[in-house]
């Protein structure tokens, strides 16, 4: 199959939730190295609220992204509220009318998320933030469209791009957020947001791949 039903997408969201929950402690450690150590906690809180609130409810993919985004924005706050809130809500908006989600749709959604993010933060690729994960992931999807590969293969490429993007932050110096205060001392470790973004994109891709097969 080359598309999945938007209404079937709750499983994708739950995969994302699980991805964050499983990595709560790890994200805390990563953030602790050059940030304040709360990234896992913040993310876990928001994603778990979503899980609990929609445990017994039907909810589609784009609707779920919107709800999750709103929970982060309106109930979590911090940096992650506006950042992931914007990404997820803008993704949802770009896909809200879809019955079926294909590669081009999904690419457009993720690109909208990236654009939304860039509307509220000044960070760009190379600044050691989640932009370093998200931006190459969008590129990978677009490359996939251009080269005509399957949705699934494009998602696998996106996962690899996200991993690579996350890893690229290791050698960077943070320019934004808490760790930017560290200057050169921020080099040598992963960025927490880039790491969580990678987890989210991987889980999202895996969830979609399951629906596709």
């Amino acid at each position: 199959m080359s598309t999945f039903k938007n209404t079937d997408g709750k499983s994708v969201l739950l995969k994302m939730v699980k991805g964050i929950q499983d990595n709560k402690a790890y994200l805390g450690v990563v953030d602790g190295l050059i940030g304040d150590g709360d990234h896992g906690m913040n993310m876990n809180k928001g994603f778990t609220v979503f899980e609990t609130r929609f445990a017994d409810k039907e909810i589609g993919f784009t609707e779920g992204l919107d709800e999750l985004g709103m929970i982060l924005l309106n109930e979590i706050g911090g940096s992650m509220g506006p950042i992931y809130g914007t990404i997820l809500m803008d993704m949802a908006e770009a896909g809200e009318d879809l019955e079926d989600v294909g590669l081009e749709d999904f690419a457009k959604m993720l690109e909208a998320g990236l654009e939304g993010l860039c509307g509220i933060v000044d960070a760009r690729v190379g600044d050691k933030t989640l932009v370093d994960t998200l931006s190459p992931s969008v590129d990978a999807l677009k490359d996939g469209i251009n080269s005509g590969i399957s949705f699934k293969d494009a998602l696998e490429n996106m996962k690899a791009a996200a991993d690579k993007g996350r890893d690229s932050t290791k050698d960077m110096v943070a320019k934004f957020g808490r760790s930017s205060r560290l200057g050169e001392r921020s080099r040598g470790v992963l960025d927490a947001g880039a790491t969580s973004c990678c987890i989210i994109l991987n889980s999202m891709a895996d969830g979609i791949i399951e629906l596709l097969s």
Binding site: D36, M41, G77, G78, P82, I83, L182, R185
Partner: protein, 331 residues
């Protein structure tokens, strides 16, 4: 973790419940449970709000009170309040004269306030902002816009709140608060780290026998880790960072605020203040008023911050105005 807690995930809500009960004569919860507001905000004045992550008591809600902030948005521990909480604080504080949102320069707060300002505009509330960036150690002088806000925020609230209480219009309140922070410089020294209750272990390290100069209120690393010094040398180090940055000079009248970071005995803050005072006197800088105590903390971190504000006639008058909140009571 030797702490007084139930489920650490609920600590902010439970703290708020306790706070509102203990100070029910003075403050109440807003419609949004993450907003604390003055009971009976005086009518017809410019609203003054703030907000920030929890764990800095008395900041932020401890500065909601008479002639101070009218409302504050409350975030998780060391994490910005939501945009909606800032918006709702503005709604509670708005008397039709607009709202001054006086907060600290942290990326989460910046984003959430920015969104709240937009949302407020949509519902017809004008919110203008002042972003505190008094922490000298957090960026070079030519990048002042990148500097964090620390204990200087207390003086910004004092001044902004007083100006609004005097009947200043929104632009006047913003201008006064902006002047307050522009005239203010701070630096912190950290002696022990702090632990976010939900994390359970210190999220940074300060080795015994060393101190972190320029530490941030969330343990953001400072500019230097040096062997721990005696109080006189610490005072010298702090004033050497703070004084040249503005600069403060002989004949200047200043407010001095020495705040503990949480776990340092208040006795030691007075020892430090005593040394700072000696240095200021030597330099001919005149202390018009001093605040010494736990004014802006970081959970159970040990250490202290020094904040100095240069006064002019307007700032003097505003600093002298009585104020009454959990964190700041002044006749």
């Amino acid at each position: 973790m030797q702490r007084i807690l139930n489920n650490p995930d609920n600590i902010v809500d439970e703290m708020l419940q306790g706070f509102l009960k203990a100070h029910s004569d003075l403050v109440e919860g807003g419609e949004n449970p993450r907003v604390v507001k003055v009971k009976n905000i005086p009518e017809g004045k410019v609203g003054v709000i703030t907000g920030g992550g929890s764990g800095h008591k008395p900041a932020f809600i401890g500065y909601v009170g008479k002639n101070l902030c009218d409302a504050a948005a409350v975030g998780e521990i060391c994490s910005s309040p939501t945009a909606v909480a800032f918006l709702d604080a503005a709604k509670e504080a708005d008397q039709g004269k607009g709202v001054a949102c006086l907060y600290g320069n942290y990326s989460g707060d910046n984003m959430n306030v920015k969104m709240a300002v937009k949302m407020a505009k949509k519902v017809g509330i004008t919110v203008k902002t002042v972003v505190a960036n008094d922490d000298v150690a957090s960026a070079p002088k030519d990048q002042r816009e990148k500097r964090r806000g620390v204990a200087g925020e207390v003086l910004m609230w004092k001044v902004g709140g007083a100006k609004a209480a005097q009947g200043g219009d929104l632009d006047e309140v913003i201008a006064a608060a902006q002047k307050a922070i522009d005239h203010t410089r701070s630096v912190g020294i950290g002696l022990t780290p702090c632990t976010l209750p939900a994390v359970g272990h210190p999220n940074f390290e300060i080795k015994d026998g060393t101190m972190e100069v320029g530490i941030g209120h969330h343990g953001e690393p400072g500019i230097e880790v040096v062997p721990i010094e005696t109080a006189d040398k610490m005072a010298k180090r702090m004033t050497d960072i703070v004084l040249p940055d503005y600069p403060f000079e002989a004949g200047d009248e200043v407010v001095v605020l020495v705040s503990g970071l949480g776990a340092t005995p208040v006795m030691e803050l007075y020892v430090l203040y005593n040394e700072i005072d000696k240095i200021l006197k030597e330099k001919g800088i005149i202390t018009y008023r001093a605040y010494v105590g736990n004014y802006f903390t970081s959970l159970e971190m040990s250490g202290a911050t020094l904040t100095i504000m240069k006064l002019d006639d307007e700032l003097k008058e505003l600093i002298d105005m009585p104020a009454y909140s959990m964190g700041l009571k002044q006749e």
